[in-house]
Amino acid sequence: MSENRDLFSKFDDIIQVRENLLASGVEDPFSLVMEKVLSPTRAICNGRDTILLGTYNYMGMTFDPDVIEAGKQALENYGSGTTGSRVLNGTYQGHKECEEALREFYGMDHAMVFSTGYQANLGIISTIAGKGDYIVLDIDSHASIWDGCALGKAEIVPFKHNDIEALENRLRRIPEGAGKLVVLEGVYSMLGDIAPLKEMIAIAKKYGAMVLVDEAHSMGFIGEHGRGVAEAQGVIDDVDFVIGTFSKSVGTVGGFCVSNHPKFEIMRLVCRPYVFTASLPPSVVATAATSIRKLMHGSNKRAHLWENSKRLHAGLTGLGFTLGTKEPQSAIVAVIMPDLEKGAAMWEALLKEGLYVNLARPPATPANMTLLRCSLCAEHSSEEVETILGMFERAGKAVGII
């Protein structure tokens, strides 16, 4: 005798929420299609000419002529894919050159490229913290960090977002002799706020913990060399592992970890999400390496990106929107919506105006917030930012948010 239980019944609640939302007649925020991409800041989305303000393409490298040319050449010379793991047949000249570019960019001894940023966190965290070790992490950490914790065997201890005292209390109570890893992010992508890394890393070191910082949303434009928030706060030398991604400022796909740990190279043999997956295609690592080298000299673009972020933040504040941070801290400006229905309506109104932003909703967001997340690009012109503000004003009034 067996009862047939539909394994999908556990998703019934979320199916219902989605159906209710779509029944209101709103365009599906999670099925947008970009039919044509015109530039880092413009695309044809669902048939409309649209300004892109939700792509994390911070430095606009996706259409850089040098980057495109490097990709084309690699595609011609090395083929479309490696069909293999990095530890078997999947390490090409391009992968080594990409890792060399990363070592130079960060001024660190070791660099390891993963097939995605998600896998970089998943792999490094689950591998270095084992049974009996402790991972102390911010409660608002990215899903890839949480999944790295879930994949490993360490004891997981979260602390309240950006709360220095809560971090110290947890570290202080960890049993004597246990291995400790503190996991932080430079920029938290939901609200665009930065972490007090200087204070937190000092505390981590005081308790003998190793420190991993995810700088996915800061690479290329925060810190003197674009190495991220840890560099900007003068503590990058105390970071044991920096995790990053190619899918934001670098403008392609892939992830990495850089480190000065003398034994770091052993990761290539013991880190399962690195070993048991195919390496990035030659064209991807060629575009990444070219882009990373160009980002070393991007100070003018960086300055313009900051101007854009400050202008958008000030403009939206002036219009009466509630934002995730009081001051602009990164290239992410999060607009807090009263609820999912209003958020979806606002998202749709903006899309019809010709503006794409990210609709972010629980469980991805902190405190069950619904957010319209804007990420600026160095290629947005000052005029475009003014246009964007006009779109927000009209949509906000139409939906009744301002």
Partner: protein, 80 residues
Amino acid sequence: MDRAAVDAIIRTLIEPFNKKGVDIAEGTTFAGDLEFDSLTVMDFVAAIEDEFDIIISMNQQAEIENFGQLVDAVSKLQGE
């Protein structure tokens, strides 16, 4: 501290999180009866950790479903 004393303290700590005023018994569950979401769990666990100066890792939390189990776990961690 004996189990009864731990029980009394946790009963006090749970009050601000018990929005619906559910009667707390040994078998009262956090997810089901008290409808705690993940953020509430974090704040509640932090309150207990700070009060007793202990750590309850998420791995340990996964084994704790009801009030009685929590009192047992805290009593044990206290003694260590």
